[in-house]
């Protein structure tokens, strides 16, 4: 563990989380030693501590678990050491925290606004206590980094797209069809969820967390509930723990099936889309029958899960795993043997493993670029600890690698689902009573289908109110990597590369 001399306080056992207070020097030392020892930056967030000023917090993933480092910023001090040179993804997180709280990274190279499109004043900070409602302002122009040279021109795409997708703006600098640079402009889906948490009761926060990114609602709700249960010191009944894993894997499979079809369609192979869309639809309908919600929203609640799984529903879920597996294997063969499709996938949008490590590429896209991290295998909770998870990795780093990893993860999830449904422990799915309110810090760390979702929860002194809840989406890291993945590719290949990452706008913008 880096900084062994620091007094680490355990926050949770599984997955292991450690809390420590640092000063500005130790802040940098911790970042450097984490970098040197192969650790990753998970997320950065700031919080307002009232009379004590502000605090900046970094969460690192190391072999020992999650390190949660608090850097207190007393009143009058509004800067902290910049982490972007060590962890490139930190740059945008620091820019966002500056807009939300007014604390800035000292000496940061990029100080352009990120989430704030000019609609709130630069000296008004929504997460400061008592900040009220923002005075409205007009949207401002964003200074994109210009690319100059003979024949270079810009293509602006979005935020409104031709397809029904989330809003985001992409600025391409191209020569002919060749992409020189892509700059993403996000923040169109900023909803002020961090401030909304401050008006939410702790026991209702899982519903809000579950709506940050609809395609990862299970991962977010579980991470929030895990954080709350860590504060409350509540033990989740074994049956509920297993059911949560069932829900998480069903969410993973549904998303992977949708993406695999969409990837075929984006390469002009509509047959793939219709086959996978039907598979996904069957999957979602059974979700609705077995759990009461097609996308599994609000199925995970603090302490356990909302409803128990009926025995006949468990049998149907099991049967569906077999049916889906046979079809996925057939479609996998079709994808692999289709020369035209493979020609589009191979070498397109490559992120090499060294670049991925440098950028902190995470989750599914990271595993396709040799970044072998999967919380289900690295810090397994029950039932993953007894079942074991075979992590799917690839070193290709191209669209083909991301397709392959998706196929392998679907098959692994189907294996896990069969094992889980076959061995569901008996018992209650919620504790008899929830404990009285109490204050404290808690973290939730879950491997969603896109990558690791992290929720940092701080309850106010009376325990009746959320003081700060920071929800981290893996897209924060991967949007940055996407900009590197497209370099040197041609313009018409961008939609395919983008789809192979399939990042969340809402989860990033919050």
């Amino acid at each position: 563990m880096p900084l062994a001399n620091l007094s680490w306080r355990p926050l949770a056992e599984l997955p292991p989380m450690w809390h420590g207070n640092v000063d500005a020097d130790a802040w940098l030392v911790a970042a450097r030693s984490t970098r040197a020892s192969g650790g990753r930056l998970v997320t950065l967030w700031g919080s307002d501590r009232g009379a004590a000023g502000c605090a900046m917090t970094a969460a690192y993933a190391t072999q020992d678990g999650l390190l949660w480092l608090d850097l207190a910023l007393p009143p009058g001090q509004a800067t902290y050491p910049d982490l972007a040179p060590l962890f490139p993804a930190a740059g945008r997180m620091q820019r966002a925290q500056h807009e939300l709280l007014g604390i800035a990274a000292a000496g940061a190279v990029d100080t352009r606004p990120w989430l704030n499109h000019g609609t709130w004043p630069a000296d008004w900070f929504p997460l400061r206590e008592g900040s009220g409602l923002p005075p409205p302002g007009p949207a401002a122009d964003y200074p994109f980094v210009p690319v100059t040279g003979d024949g270079v021109h810009e293509i602006a795409v979005g935020p409104v797209h031709a397809g029904i997708i989330e809003p985001g703006h992409f600025r391409f600098s191209v020569v002919g069809e060749k992409l020189l640079r892509l700059e993403a402009r996000l923040g169109y889906a900023h909803k002020g969820i961090d401030a909304l948490f401050a008006r939410t009761a702790p026991e209702a926060g899982h519903r809000l967390a579950g709506r940050i990114s609809g395609d990862s609602t299970v991962a977010y709700a579980w991470a929030y509930c895990m954080a709350l249960e860590n504060v409350w010191h509540v033990a989740v009944p074994p049956r509920a723990q297993w059911l949560r894993a069932v829900l998480l894997e069903r969410e993973r499979v549904a998303n992977h099936l949708g993406d695999l079809g969409a990837l075929g369609n984006d390469a002009g192979f509509a047959f793939g889309l219709t086959r996978f869309a039907r598979l996904r639809e069957d999957w979602l309908r059974l979700n609705g029958t077995a759990f009461g919600h097609r996308l599994l929203m609000d199925c995970i609640v603090p302490g356990g899960v909302a409803t128990d799984l009926a025995p006949d529903a468990a049998a149907r879920l099991l049967a569906q795993c077999d049916a889906a597996e046979a079809e996925v294997l057939r479609l996998k063969t079709i994808y692999e043997e289709h020369a035209g499709l493979q020609d589009r996938f191979l070498t397109t949008g490559r992120v090499t493993p060294p670049l991925a490590a440098r950028l902190g590429l995470t989750g599914l896209a990271g595993r396709a670029s040799g970044q072998a991290f999967d919380l289900r295998a690295d810090h397994p909770l029950p039932p993953y600890d007894s079942l074991g998870t075979n992590m799917a990795t690839h070193r290709g780093g191209d669209v083909a690698a991301r397709v392959t990893v998706r196929f392998e993860e679907v098959l692994e999830s189907l294996r896990l689902l069969r094992a889980m449904l076959g061995g569901l422990p008996a018992g209650a799915v919620r504790p008899a009573a929830l404990p009285p309110a109490r204050a404290g810090l808690g973290g939730g760390w879950v491997e969603g289908w896109r990558g690791e979702v992290f929720v940092a929860l701080e309850l106010a002194a009376d325990g009746q109110r959320v003081h700060r809840c920071h929800c981290h989406d893996p897209s924060w890291h991967n949007w940055l990597a996407l900009e590197h993945a497209v370099m040197g590719n041609i313009v018409p290949d961008f939609p395919l590369i983008n789809k192979s990452f399939n990042l969340s706008y809402s989860g990033h913008d919050r």
Binding site: G268, L273, G340, R344, P495
Partner: protein
């Protein structure tokens, strides 16, 4: 000009206008079925045209008169092209006025108007599409010309009507050069009509579009004309393909009865052709943009091989 010729000519134009959307509907229907979807119905293209003609045409502030003119010019060019392709009868008064070379020129003129109109508004997608359309065009047009020359060498004429008369009504002979030309023509038709694997007519991804990117700024009746022109172009290509490679059944001059007999045969040939196109589109993925020149160069090479085979083997 005889009155029957005039009748045959106007009938051919009317037939093209009505059958072209039907052919598109037929292909779309099969594409849906082959992709395990339920189809929108054979008449869907007519419904789309009807809807678009009843909608308001919205023009960008930066649009010049060229932008308004282009749909009519494109539609006119393509309709004229349809008029000189013998589909039912070779008795076409327009045919002597324009031969196969003029036909390629007419289609090229339509392309130029479309590309200019797309660039006229000044959006990134329009220019992108125009650039790509020209990339396809500069290779597809010469390949198409050489394909037509293959047939001209056999028949000794560049007029499509006389080519068909000679091919369909002379003594049956096997022309190996036409086999090469036929494959080349199939490749060119896929590229020229914005079909998979060159372009995807069903895509909504602006960055990958070729043909659709040219139409992004059009709406209402302008879009209707452009869509109709696209199906007419496909119909014209189908007509050329049938005339060159499957000319049997097309009526000779001055025979109204044969013309009526040619109609069901044409329907059958188009139905088979449409099914084949849908099959190709279902089985292929869209290729990378920079593979398109290779694809079209193959077509050109095959067409030239056809010429060589013809000159080696003699008549």
């Amino acid at each position: 000009m005889n009155p029957f010729g005039l009748l045959a000519q106007s009938f051919a134009v009317l037939l093209a206008l009505t059958l072209a959307p039907l052919l598109k509907g037929w292909i779309d229907m099969w594409r849906a079925w082959l992709g395990n979807r339920s189809a929108p119905g054979l008449l869907q293209p007519y419904r789309v045209l009807h809807k678009l003609f009843h909608k308001e045409s919205v023009l960008a502030d930066t649009a010049s008169p060229l932008f308004r003119l282009a749909p009519y010019a494109v539609f006119g060019c393509v309709l004229l092209a349809c008029a000189i392709v013998p589909t039912l009868s070779t008795d076409l008064p327009f045919a002597p006025a324009a031969d196969a070379i003029a036909l390629v020129g007419l289609l090229a003129l339509a392309r130029v108007f479309m590309a200019l109109a797309a660039m006229d508004i000044g959006t990134a997608f329009g220019s992108l599409g125009a650039r790509r359309e020209m990339l396809v065009g500069f290779l597809a047009e010469p390949a198409l010309l050489i394909v037509l020359f293959n047939a001209s060498l056999i028949t000794g004429s560049t007029s499509l009507a006389s080519i068909v008369e000679t091919l369909a009504h002379q003594q049956f002979a096997i022309h190996p050069s036409l086999a090469f030309a036929g494959i080349a023509f199939a490749l060119v038709s896929l590229a020229e009509n914005a079909r998979i694997p060159v372009d995807n007519p069903a895509t909504h991804l602006e960055l990958t579009m070729i043909h659709e990117a040219l139409l992004l700024e059009y709406s209402g009746r302008h879009l209707a004309l452009m869509e109709w022109a696209a199906s007419l172009k496909l119909f014209a290509y189908a007509g050329i393909g049938l005339a060159l490679f499957f000319p049997w059944g097309i009526a000779q001059a001055q025979s109204p009865a044969a013309m009526l007999a040619a109609l069901p045969l044409l329907g059958l040939k188009l139905a088979i052709g449409g099914l084949a196109l849908a099959l190709v589109e279902t089985l292929s993925a869209k290729m990378r943009l920079f593979r398109v020149p290779e694809f079209l160069a193959t077509a050109f090479l095959l067409a030239v091989l056809g010429l060589l085979v013809h000159s080696l083997l003699g008549d």
